[in-house]
């Protein structure tokens, strides 16, 4: 691509040469493209209808916030060889007239985020076609990830994401859910939705960008050229084996760099946030180190962390992520680190694995959120997202609560993103899968989990894995049929809640005790678990329960009475929605210490607040 940014009109004009090879064993006579900036064209797009024009609390404020892409020409390149005679006759053919917007998801005829173009001749299996496209992208005011904003200093901030006509994925027979015996592949292109991110195929990008000289640029890939003339800066970036290309530009950016092994890390920071530049870089290194050790090597040589503005933040693109922060963010609040680690994680679960985020968002967001919880605990200690005196909140706990206390019976992981009920997308794509994976790890141990993750990465990077694929890897590595686990917690919405109902011990004539412990499965979800019994003589005994029955009585005889029964004492089952009822002590061993302490703390708090209140009058 060769493009020019015009900050005045907030537009990017340029040309794109697309070289596409038919991966199918059948000829292809149609190409499909994403035109995602058209989501911001007017109020009638599917994105605007679904989102109401708001995304993560960001809304447009400008009089004219709209954006969009216009293709002025699309032709089969006339200077590229290796075409069959049939296609050779089509050289230079203008395809613009055969472009048709399609709406494969919802039939909203006003949505122009996907188009199909009919080729004059089909592209044979393995054949390559080259298209020359001239386009103009008008950037929207940033609401969701992409567009323009005006910085505090009054300068333009540009974030170009989903900004060019991008070819969709042709899924061939046997790939993902296309039956292996299908006669031909099918295009997988989805409209731009409020609740979904993206899906595209791998390729090589060579992009030349021209911006005003004062602009600092960051982009996917490696910068290979830079020149300045006539008040303009021209930069050229190359990115191999990636499925998208994004870039950013602003005269405000301050650049900070650091090398980590083979990776050049660049942080583009807003002037007000210079004091936090190193936090961004340190968090990126923390993530790089652990992904490298736990999953596999980061195959690229660059990583750019962008401190963006508003709705551009918290997003991932190949080798370029946006994190953002706020002035005065205290170090005990590790939101900056969390977001940076999360977005970096997408270099794997999105970038390298490239699952279909429209159809199986959990494979990217959820797997990434799971590793994020691991990294935060490992790098900063448990309870490190917020550390305020005795109150420590960890990422694992926060993600778990986002699931267990948020209508846990709704929203299966395996659901198409735009079909979630309001509020279920983030739970089912982030919190719940992070909790599911943490539970799986505790079920079979970190060693097995690490083998599983490494195998999944090694086998499926660059190949768009599915839920079925990740399950297969898990089963291959462990040698265990995990259908019971996946059917309940990935494909289904089973809810786990076990409780200890009662402890009854009676002393027999011979001085021994007969104890009966009743445990219950309160919901539909099942999970094998341990029941730990504590006896009055201080000894303990562990019993295993497969957790399938709705209730069960454990009857025991012994020299001592059972005084406590504890289901899942090691808290392996993070999915259990109520941990408080997992444990019960005999009536004689009731302990009121916590309630009394809580009362004392409340008294003291009230006293202090009364003094504060009194000071007001």
């Amino acid at each position: 691509m060769d493009v020019v940014l015009d900050p005045e009109t907030r537009s990017i004009k340029g040309t794109e040469r697309l070289t596409w090879t038919n991966p199918d064993s059948a000829p292809v006579d149609e190409l499909q493209f994403h035109m995602y900036l058209n989501a911001f064209k007017d109020n009638n797009s599917t994105f605007m209808k679904e989102s109401g024009g708001a995304h993560r609390g960001n809304t447009a404020k400008d009089e004219n916030p709209w954006g969009g892409i216009q293709i002025s020409s699309m032709r089969i390149a006339d200077d590229v060889g290796d075409l069959r005679p049939e296609l050779l006759t089509s050289r230079g053919a203008d395809l613009t007239q055969s472009m048709t917007f399609i709406q494969p998801d919802d039939g909203n005829v006003d949505d122009q985020t996907v188009f199909s173009v009919q080729l004059p001749q089909s592209v044979a299996p393995g054949e390559t076609i080259t298209l020359d496209i001239t386009f103009e992208s008008r950037l929207p005011e940033i609401v969701a990830r992409t567009g323009w904003a005006i910085s505090e200093s009054g300068n333009p901030f540009i974030f170009a994401g989903q900004w060019f006509p991008k070819i969709a994925v042709l899924e061939i027979p046997g790939q993902r859910y296309v039956p292996a015996d299908a006669s031909k592949g099918v295009w997988n292109a989805h409209q731009f939705h409020a609740n979904s991110e993206f899906y595209a195929d791998f390729g090589t990008f060579d992009v030349t960008i021209r911006v005003p000289e004062s602009f600092v640029v960051g982009a996917s890939g490696i910068q290979v050229e830079e020149s300045i003339s006539d008040g303009f800066k021209t930069v050229r970036y190359k990115a191999d084996d990636v499925h998208d290309f994004a870039w950013t530009a602003s005269p405000d950016f301050l650049e900070f760099t650091q090398q980590w092994r083979h990776v050049s890390i660049k942080a583009l920071i807003q002037p007000a946030h210079t004091g936090q530049a190193q936090r961004h870089i340190d968090a990126a290194i923390v993530a790089l180190e652990r992904y490298d050790e736990w999953i596999g090597e980061y195959p690229y040589t660059t990583l750019t962390v962008v401190d963006g503005i508003g709705g551009s933040n918290g997003m991932e693109y190949p080798t370029l992520i946006t994190a953002g922060t706020t002035y005065g963010l205290p170090t005990w609040m590790r939101v900056l680190e969390l977001v940076t680690i999360h977005e970096f994680g997408h270099q794997y679960f999105y970038g390298l694995m490239a699952s279909n985020e429209f159809e199986e968002a959990w494979l990217d967001e959820g797997m990434n959120s799971y590793i994020e919880t691991k990294i935060l605990d490992d790098a900063y200690g448990p309870g490190s997202v917020m550390e305020l005196g005795p109150i420590k909140i960890g990422d694992i706990q926060a993600q778990r609560l986002g699931y267990v206390k948020n209508d846990p019976s709704k929203g299966a992981l395996f659901t198409r993103s735009w079909e979630y009920r309001m509020g279920d997308y983030s739970k089912a794509s982030y919190s719940k899968p992070a909790t599911v994976m943490n539970t799986l790890e505790r079920y079979w141990g970190w060693d097995m989990q690490q083998r599983f993750l490494k195998a999944y990465y090694a086998k499926w990077r660059f190949k768009h894995p599915t839920t079925r694929d990740i399950q297969n890897v898990a089963e291959e590595i462990s040698g265990e049929d995990l259908e019971w686990f996946f059917s309940q917690f990935v494909y289904g919405v089973a809810v786990v809640d076990y409780s200890v109902q009662s402890i009854r011990s009676t002393k027999k004539d011979d001085g021994s005790y007969s104890s009966t412990i009743r445990v219950r499965r309160e919901q539909d979800g099942g999970f094998p678990l341990t029941l730990r019994l504590t006896y009055s003589d201080g000894t303990t005994k562990d019993l295993e329960w497969d957790g399938t029955e709705s209730w069960r009585d454990f009857k025991l005889q012994g020299g001592s009475a059972v005084i406590e029964a504890f289901l899942d004492p090691e808290f392996k089952m993070l999915l259990d929605i109520n941990r408080l009822n997992n444990r019960l002590v005999a009536n004689d061993y009731a302990d009121n210490r916590f309630a009394r302490k809580a009362q004392l703390r409340a008294i003291s708090l009230y006293q202090k607040l009364f003094f504060v209140f009194s000071g007001l009058f």
């Binding site: 505090e152 200093s153 007000a272 706020t326 002035y327 005065g328 305020l388 005196g389 005795p390 109150i391 420590k392 909140i393 960890g394 706990q397 926060a398 778990r400 609560l401 267990v404 206390k405 406590e564 504890f566 109520n578 941990r579 408080l580 009822n581 444990r583 019960l584 002590v585 009536n587 009731a590 302990d591 009121n592 210490r593 916590f594 309630a595 009394r596 302490k597 809580a598 009362q599 004392l600 703390r601 409340a602 008294i603 003291s604 708090l605 009230y606 006293q607 202090k608 009364f610 003094f611 504060v612 209140f613 009194s614 000071g615 007001l616 009058f617």
Partner: protein, 294 residues
């Protein structure tokens, strides 16, 4: 000069320690009363759960979430309690302040309860009137902050306006209004003025005397110290019983400061206006009462 009055206030407070004890006891009793629903709800939820020990030792987000879920209407109950507690607290604050003024006048020889009985009604009305300047000040700060936001634009500007200027302006403004209120109340109790006169007179005090400001600010520093320290103990000592005991000692100290604070202001007022010395007959504190410091 203000140091002299602060010292005198301190001596007066020390000579009648039970006044501080009353302040402290009322505060403690109110806290105790309000905390009962917490004890009951948490007892029911945890005493047989086996987690009592663990929860007493440290914060576990998962268990706390379960606890609040199982405690049902506890949080609404705690909020609803404030509906009746805050008015009572307000009346108590007005009455007890009037009682302290009365008790510490005339060399600190008069009855607290008599002052409380005689002046609570009027002092409460006066207190309600002082809500007006407080409200005006809050509105003013909001307006100034809004204007400032147009000048100090952007993230850094917003930070300073929202997190530095506004809280500081609110705090200092309310402190000065509280000082006006203190002296207005003294004029009401000792100066034999009507409510409206006391209200207006009180508002003149920040300009009336530098010493009045110094006395107030001096005691405010001690008062803040004895409030901040218990808050810090909350953060540093977690759920230890020891923290509660130390907090109570500090809060008793804070009550002592309240007595000393008002005593200083009373002494200063009476030296400024010796002609207003109240000669009504209630050097009334009985020997027994004096002996008890009440």
């Amino acid at each position: 000069m203000s140091v002299h009055y602060i010292k005198t206030g301190y001596e007066r407070a020390r000579s009648r320690p039970r006044l501080a004890a009353i302040m402290y006891a009322a505060n403690l009793a109110m806290g105790l009363l309000l905390s009962i629903p917490i004890l009951i709800a948490f007892s029911q939820a945890t005493e047989l759960s086996g987690y009592s020990d663990q929860m007493a030792e440290g914060f576990d987000l998962a268990l706390w979430a379960d606890l609040f879920e199982s405690s049902g209407p506890l949080l609404p109950t705690l909020v609803a309690q404030l509906m009746w507690v805050l008015p009572i607290l307000f009346v108590w604050k007005m009455g007890s302040s009037a009682g302290l003024i009365h008790a510490q006048s005339e060399g600190g020889s008069r009855s607290f309860w008599k002052g409380f009985g005689q002046h609570t009604g009027k002092a409460t009305v006066l207190g309600m009137l002082y809500m007006i300047p407080t409200l005006v000040w809050i509105i003013l700060v909001v307006l100034v902050a809004t204007v400032l936001s147009t000048v100090l634009t952007g993230e850094v500007g917003s930070f300073w306006v929202q997190f530095v200027f506004s809280p500081l302006a609110l705090f200092l403004g309310i402190a000065f209004i509280d000082m006006m209120h203190d002296f207005g109340r003294i004029e009401l109790v000792l100066g034999k003025k009507g409510i409206m006169d006391s209200w207006f007179s009180g508002m003149k005090w920040p300009l009336h005397s530098g010493n009045a400001n110094s006395i107030y600010l001096g005691w405010m520093m001690f008062g803040l110290l004895f409030l901040v320290l218990p808050f810090m103990l909350d953060l540093s000592l977690g759920g230890l019983f020891l923290a509660f005991i130390v907090q109570q000692i500090l809060l008793l100290g804070r009550s002592f400061i309240t007595v000393g604070w008002i005593s200083s202001e009373v002494v200063f007022f009476q030296e400024m206006f010796p002609e207003l010395a109240d000669d009504t007959d209630d050097k009334s504190v009985s020997d027994a009462e004096l002996g008890q410091g009440i």
